[in-house]
C-alpha cells in the first residue's frame, strides 16, 4: 500500500506507540496515509481503538518480519 509517511515504533511499549502515532499524524494532511511499525503486541488492539476514537481510518493491518504494521488514513 502507498503511504506518505512512516513511523517506526519498534521497541516502544504502551502507551508510546499510540501517543507517538498521534504526534506523527499531526503534521500530515487529511487523506494522507501513515505507515506505523510496532513490536508491542498490545498495539494491535490499541491501534484499532485509537483509529475508532479519533476517526483516522485503519485501512489495513498485518505483520511483516515478525513486526506489526498498520496503515492509518488521516481524518
Amino acid at each position: 500500500m502507498e503511504f506518505s509517511k512512516e513511523f517506526d515504533a519498534s521497541g516502544l511499549a504502551c502507551p508510546l506507540p499510540i501517543v507517538k502515532t498521534k504526534k506523527a499524524l499531526a503534521d500530515m494532511a487529511s487523506g494522507q496515509v501513515l505507515r506505523v511499525i510496532s513490536t508491542d503486541p498490545g498495539s494491535v488492539c490499541d491501534m484499532a481503538a485509537f483509529a475508532e476514537q479519533t476517526g483516522n481510518a485503519l485501512l489495513e493491518q498485518g505483520s511483516e518480519n515478525s513486526k506489526f504494521v498498520f496503515y492509518l488514513k488521516k481524518a
Binding site: L12, A13, V19, D40, Q53
Partner: protein, 156 residues
Amino acid sequence: MATKKMALIATKGTLDMAYPPFILASTAAALGWDVQIFFTFYGLQLLRTSLDDIKISPLANPAMPMPVPMPVMVQMLPGMESMATMMMKNKMKSKGVASLQELRDICLEADVKFVACQMTVDLFEFEASEFIKDVEYGGAATFMKFAGESDVCLFI
C-alpha cells in the same frame, strides 16, 4: 461529537503508582480527550521539577516480582530501596517503557491540566518553586467542577 473528558486523582508518590495517571492521561490526550489530573497527598511528589527521587520499595509490597526471593529483613537494609529502584528503572528501559519524565512531558505538551491540591501543599509545606511551573492550585470544589462533567473519573 463532544470532546470526552477524564478526571484523575493522583495520590501516590512511588515509581509504580506514578505510572498509571501519566499513562492514562497521555493516552487520553492522544485520543483527543480533555484531561485533568488532581495531585494530592503523596501524588504531589509527581509535580516536582525533578522526578529522580521517585522510588519503589519491595518492602510491604509482597506482589512485586523479584529476580531473587528476598526476606523482608533483607529488604529493610539501607540502600535496598535505591537498589530496587535502579533495577526497576533498568528493566523498564530495556523493555521500551517510557520514563516518568518523558510521560509527564508528553502530558504537558498535550495540554493535560495539572492541579495541585492546595490543602496538602500547605500541609506538607511545599513551595511552588519546588514544582514545575505548569501547575494550577485548587481544592476539592475545583476538582468536582471538572469531574462532574467528565466521562471517566479515577482515583489512583
